[in-house]
């Protein structure tokens, strides 16, 4: 028995060690990258959702501002669609970055959770920024996110195609419908837009809904139904492809560049790609309004910078200064030109409008643009889901435009 007992004891110990190391392994995962900032050298972590093409442009600005504030900034890029899941995980494990980029409709959601600090703590008031941009970054009266550059939607048209068909640039819905019909030929639709089963579809529906006086807090109103009926009519006319229910905005842009559409609803972020397309002669105007004299109200897009509650006062202060620096006019202009966007501040907007003819129309559009969360706040995602659901129901013929919103609300 001696040998057996000894053997068993050894085994017991090995087993115990194995379980212990497992426990250690699982226990260790919580530790990580929280370095203290007492020694004066502050390193700020930053999470953004930039693509490969716009990251270098922003990096230039990050470097300039890091130098100005006297900190080091480590930027991490995350895919836009994965950001919220990551932010929520970081919020629950208290590992939020020092500076966080958030798409403006998400700011209120995250601010409501208490994860962000008010920017007024760092002397950022949003002065000189249009009201729409302030609304987008505010929650219950406090500013939590500030966007150095913003975007919106306009009507982008193929100049040659319009000239060939002898069509004037449309300014009202009637003109748009007529122009789209006149521009439709074999193999080319008059107009392309995104009516996808996603928030992109919602976003592209808003200029029609808002310009017609419809609002997201009353989706069953006749104004909202009329806007949907207008788009539906153009699909019925055959001047808008019925495939729009599956098109993302990227798809829309590809269709336009390929010559499959003479006009499209899209935003300034496409400008670099459009300008690069050979032989494409295009221009931008605001989205047509229901009747002449109405104001065209487009949705306001753009990513804001926020300062999360990390608990490290010194770092939060530095992060605040860093974000303030990002919103300086010269940096707004660098970012705007680099990725196809409009400077958020009025004075920088005027500067860019003067020397970038393609961005100039968007500067005007942004001035009247409205934030998606301005009315409903954190309830916005629910309304946004109803909007794209209703649009899909109507454009696929599953419901009339008037019924569609009733059904989608259920």
């Amino acid at each position: 028995m001696n040998r057996n007992a000894a053997k068993r004891s050894t085994l017991i110990t090995t087993g115990a060690l194995a379980s212990l190391s497992l426990a250690l392994l699982t226990g260790c995962s919580a530790g990580g990258a929280s370095s203290s900032s007492e020694d004066g050298d502050i390193t700020l972590t930053l999470t953004d959702t930039l693509s490969e093409t716009s990251a270098p442009v922003y990096q230039e600005v990050y470097d300039a501002c890091a130098a100005e504030v006297g900190v080091t900034v480590e930027a991490t890029h995350v895919a836009g669609s994965a950001l919220i899941a990551k932010v929520l995980q970081q919020a629950s494990s208290r590992t939020l970055p020092d500076v966080l980029m958030l798409d403006n409709p998400d700011v209120q959601q995250i601010a409501a959770s208490g994860a962000l600090s008010p920017l007024s703590d760092y002397g950022i008031t949003g002065e000189g920024f249009p009201q729409g941009i302030i609304d987008a970054g505010s929650y219950e009266g406090d500013l939590y996110g500030i966007a150095p550059v913003v975007n919106s939607l306009g009507l982008i048209y193929n100049v040659d195609a319009l000239a060939e068909a002898g069509v004037e640039v449309p300014e009202t819905w009637d003109e748009l419908r007529a122009a789209a019909a006149a521009l439709t030929t074999d193999g080319r639709y008059g107009l392309a837009l995104s009516a996808a089963n996603s928030f992109e579809g919602t976003w592209q529906f808003l200029p029609f809904m808002w310009s017609n006086g419809g609002n997201e807090d009353d989706l069953t109103s006749p104004e909202v139904a009329e806007a949907l009926a207008f788009l539906n009519d153009m699909v019925q006319d055959g001047s808008v492809s019925s495939s729009v229910v599956g098109w993302s905005q990227n798809d829309v842009n590809d269709q336009f560049i390929a010559g499959n559409a003479a006009m499209m609803v899209n935003g300034p972020w496409n400008l670099p790609k459009l300008t690069a397309a050979e032989g494409l002669n295009f221009d931008v105007v605001q989205i047509p309004v229901p009747t002449a004299g109405d104001t065209s109200i487009a949705p306001l897009g753009g990513e804001t910078f926020t300062v999360p509650q990390t608990g490290d006062e010194a770092k939060m202060q530095a992060a605040g200064e860093f974000v303030k620096c990002l919103t300086e006019d010269e940096h707004q202009i660098t970012m705007a030109n680099g990725r196809g966007a409009v400077p958020a501040g009025e004075s920088a907007g005027e500067t860019i409008a003067a020397d970038n003819a393609l961005l100039a129309p968007f500067v005007g559009i942004v001035a009247d643009a409205r934030a998606r969360t301005a009315i409903l706040g954190e309830e916005w995602p629910e309304a946004a889901t109803q909007i794209y659901t209703a649009e899909q129901l109507a454009l696929t013929g599953r419901a009339t435009p008037a019924e569609a919103f009733e059904q989608a609300a259920g």
Partner: protein, 314 residues
């Protein structure tokens, strides 16, 4: 290390005495220690998520919860909301149609391929490995390609159909055919799984059975029906049940192709759960939908376990 030494030096002394009660306890303790890693693994990676998901579905669990940790108990409210929504019936119907269509398509085509490759012919090995191709591609990549193929206006499929006079089919843009299109892509994706399993099953049927059968006049269709099918049945059951479980939870293919549209015609329980959680940030309702989905899977998991046990018993 010290315990090892102690145990070694201590054992001869203890050996002379009757075995103490502590020894038994120590032995039980040791047994548990060996089980511990497996138990810890199962509890942490399977038990916790399932229980958490169940609890979540009874809570108002939103973005706030992640920061404050507060999730008010709402009882069955999430389930009521989910079941009463206009599209719940459509969603469940889509889930069942999607699963049934995919399984029938995958299985029948998979079985035909498996039977075909049973015969050895030049290049058969290479062709068989080519069949695994859909498995090797990232799903997101292959769905993007399928999206081009199925495009109504410029897609290759419609151009080919146009040559034989079939007008453009609105594969992904009409609520009437979108589900069929999604099922087609999922069938394509699931064929390798079915071929691999069924081909393996066919290899295990001894040739003697066919030789003996041939002497008795069982060839061709008769041989399949009286020899192949009965011998293959255990493999068939496993293939079907696993296929159903995998198909019920398919998310990426639908997200990539249609995003649940047009007009909810390809919305399944899996996509609905995903949208509720990650678009509307209503994690409670999202968890409720996924629990309903788990319930469906559970039925088939039980069938799978029963069939497996029966096989072991035999």
């Amino acid at each position: 290390m010290s315990t090892v030494l102690e145990a070694r030096t201590g054992s001869p002394v203890r050996a002379s005495r009757p075995r103490p009660r502590g020894g038994v306890r120590r032995e039980t303790f040791a047994q548990w220690l060996f089980l511990a890693p497996a138990i810890v693994y199962v509890v942490v990676f399977f038990g916790y998520p399932v229980v958490k998901n169940l609890v979540m579905s009874f809570q108002e669990y939103t973005t706030k919860t992640f920061f404050t940790g507060e999730a008010p108990w709402v009882g069955l409210a999430n389930y009521v909301e989910v079941v009463q929504s206009t599209f719940f019936g459509i969603t469940v119907g889509n889930t069942l149609m999607f699963t049934l269509g995919s399984i029938v398509g995958q299985f029948v085509i998979g079985l035909l391929f498996a039977l075909f490759f049973r015969k050895r012919f030049p290049l058969s090995g290479m062709l068989r490995s080519l069949l695994l191709l859909p498995w090797l591609l990232p799903v997101i990549a292959s769905t993007s390609v399928w999206k081009w193929i199925l495009d109504q206006d410029g897609g290759v499929l419609n151009q080919a159909l146009g040559l034989v006079g079939i007008g453009p089919v609105p594969w992904l843009t009409s609520p009437d055919v979108a589900l069929i299109a999604v099922v087609l892509v999922n069938v394509w994706l699931g064929i390798p799984f079915n071929v691999a399993l069924l081909y393996g099953g066919l290899q295990n049927i001894p040739d003697e059975l066919y030789e003996a059968g041939a002497l008795d006049g069982a060839t061709g269709w008769k041989a399949f029906w009286h020899i192949t099918w009965p011998s293959l049945r255990p493999v068939v059951t496993v293939t079907l049940v696993l296929g159903v479980i995998y198909t019920l939870k398919v998310l990426d293919i639908i997200l990539g192709l249609t995003g649940g549209g047009p007009a909810n015609s390809t919305q399944t329980l899996a996509t609905d759960s995903y949208f509720r959680s990650f678009r509307e940030f209503d994690f409670g309702a999202g968890a409720a939908v996924s629990n309903i989905l788990i319930l469906f899977s559970l039925v088939f998991a039980v069938i799978y376990l029963r069939v497996n046990r029966k096989q072991v018993d035999e």
